[in-house]
Symmetry: C2
Subunit: 406 residues, 2 copies
């Protein structure tokens, strides 16, 4: 019982945190509730009821199944549903007509056989990656409708009327969904994607700063907030590593959305995926950086001093570029500072490389003073920083590219 109670308590806390951190999701719940009560009006009000009849139930079902969190997802589901229903309707009536030609006796056999084959093929097609990504729901609706038509068509006489009824209820349900999701506090997939990429950049910049600050011990924060900070560092790059699936589905949905908040229809959403991928490679580097630091292999102090200046400069320059890119993404116009910051970063890279070269020319491997094993962490660190700077440069190019296009 105690275990159950603590589980319940945990769930409660989780719910509360979610509601506090993402009130949009709470609002989404109420939007669904509102859409459902709107659509159920068709059922309650006598004159409307007589117009559409018992089929109104289908409109309710449509709302429940189709209403998604983002506008793009809702639109894509509606289009999928409409296309799937229409195609299945046409095919179903065709199959029905053919079956009828074979006479009363063979009709059910033909119908059942075709249901079996068509649904098998459609189910298999849902495994094909390119169909799964965009038309999964459409194919499901297709199977559903074709079963509905071929099976019930055997009983119901006026098949065409049935199909029209179903289409009209779906249209009612879909339009209520689309209107509610677009008019009341809309959540645009494109906007979400934009913010996700923007926030990931910011997180990486902070991670990088925190990481280097921790290593070179120049932490400005007082001890109290230090554990919190280092925790945030860890979470920062990990979020970026895990965001691939979200990015891809958001980019898929964003394509369906009309112009909103400065994003035109046909905004280059695919470019965002490229930037996302670069951010992820950057996050891998920061992960490696963290591993190097966590391994506790501190270089000797003389070397650390030798490197600290240029490494800190490079990392702060890289994170400055990332932060400037955040500004670029906020305004969606090329920032005048960005080119300057990128070139500053490049010169910092040069400095670190010079420091590395200088190191290799000094007789540091004199075993009595410094051994090679002690040099390794610093060398790894600086080469990782150089790589991060390289990726940052690439991200800057991509972001400027689509900021210009938009």
């Amino acid at each position: 019982v105690k275990k159950l109670l603590s589980k319940f308590w945990g769930l409660n806390k989780e719910t509360w945190n979610l509601a506090m951190n993402e009130p949009k999701k709470l609002i989404h719940g109420f939007k669904v509730g509102m859409a459902l009560s709107l659509v159920s009006l068709f059922y309650y009000m006598k004159p409307l009821y007589e117009g559409i009849g018992g089929n109104a139930m289908w409109a309710v079902l449509t709302v429940i199944v189709v209403f998604e969190y983002t506008v793009g997802a809702t639109l894509s589901k509606c289009l999928n549903k409409a296309a799937g229903t229409f195609l299945a309707g046409v095919l179903g009536i065709g199959v029905h007509w053919i079956a009828r030609q074979f006479g009363q006796k063979f009709e059910p056999v033909i119908l059942q056989g075709s249901v079996c084959i068509i649904s098998a093929a459609a189910t298999f097609s849902r495994f094909i990656p390119s169909i799964k990504a965009q038309f999964d729901y459409g194919v499901l609706v297709f199977i559903l409708t074709i079963c509905f038509i071929t099976v019930s068509g055997y009983r119901v006489e006026n098949l065409l009327e049935l199909a029209l009824h179903r289409l009209s209820t779906i249209a009612i349900g879909s339009s209520i969904c689309i209107l509610t999701s677009m008019l009341f506090c809309p959540v645009w997939a494109g906007n979400e994607l934009h913010n996700l990429i923007r926030n990931n950049m910011e997180k990486l910049a902070d991670s990088l700063d925190g990481c280097i600050a921790q290593y070179f011990g120049c932490d400005i924060n007082s001890n109290n907030t230090q554990s919190e900070t280092s925790n945030n560092i860890l979470l920062g790059y990990k979020c970026v590593l895990d965001s691939r699936d979200t990015e891809e589905s958001l980019a898929n949905f964003a394509r369906w959305e009309p112009a909103h908040r400065g994003f035109n229809f046909g905004h280059p959403w695919k470019e965002y995926l490229k930037v996302g991928a670069s951010l992820r490679s950057c996050a891998y580097c920061i992960k490696a950086l963290n591993c190097t630091i966590d391994s506790g292999a501190q270089g000797p102090d003389i070397l650390k001093n030798h490197f600290s200046k240029c490494c800190i400069k490079l990392s702060s320059n890289s994170s400055a570029v990332l932060k400037e890119l955040v500004v670029v993404m906020d305004t969606m116009t090329k920032s005048p500072k960005i080119d300057f910051k990128v070139s500053e970063m490049c010169s910092a890279v040069q400095e670190v490389q010079n420091a590395l070269k200088a190191l290799s020319k000094q007789p540091i491997a004199n075993p009595t003073i410094i051994s090679l094993t002690e040099v390794i962490p610093l060398v790894t660190l600086s080469s990782l920083l150089i790589e991060i700077a390289g990726i940052t440069g690439k991200i800057a190019k991509d972001v400027n590219g689509f900021a210009n296009k938009a």
Copy 2:
């Protein structure tokens, strides 16, 4: 038109490849078709039709929506559907009873209000991670049923009968699904998870071997197959990086499955996730290894010779451990060789560490002979190999742990 044709051709090829590589998925399609024709029998056969009536449509819908690729997923969806329908039924009848007490005038208002609030709360709960992972479909069915009951209950007089009908059709649909998915070529989520982890191990072992072979130029294969091999290397570890979501959902579904193929009910599936996570860290290291190699920074030949022997030994020992673990997973009994191989790997780690130490004691940084920058790739490589060996040791411990338990 040409673009469309080439797209169509690409899709065709994709479909063909999928069907050839994973015939199980093709079979799944036919299983769905079979289940659908089975369930539509209720509709075609007169005596059965009279027993269940037009509600038979619900059984067909249940089959379409509930039938999933793996047995575990189908079972979990069926249980979700049953639980959601039952809970919503009880709650719906309760709401209905309360609404009726307020008289004819207020009844629709109360009903609509409660539909709005209940569905809003339920929709929001779908965002909570722990509910989303396991009960997403159940909550959807809950919303669907509660709308169905509260809305249509206003018209249909014998509500209890409606609820019973719906439950019985769901039971028919679900049992047909479960029977078909379990009796004909069943695809067990647990088995899939087991194979996924096993194959990932094999891929990593091959990646590691190929990577090191490429670097030290001791590629045994002829030139023809080389490009193919290096391609496989790349794909190998990338698959492992991307398999997290699949692993988690399979582990979730595997918990529902009865005993099968040597896996008891209550098999430690969560342990597989741990192993999967370790494999992923190993894949990160191999990725880093590949980056180091791709950067083209070859160390000088003298050093390469100095390192090649022990590095090749370490990597082949690590991959031997991984391959032995594949055998352990195949037989699910602790292999007698595994401890020996792990200790061999540990001694190889020691050798590489000694080589590193020896390197740092030699006056190699004599600028005229070898500069530090040239040493770096080799040092990075060996430290990555040491890390891989460490993770491999951890994986060996985990796998032996659950091989003993099973």
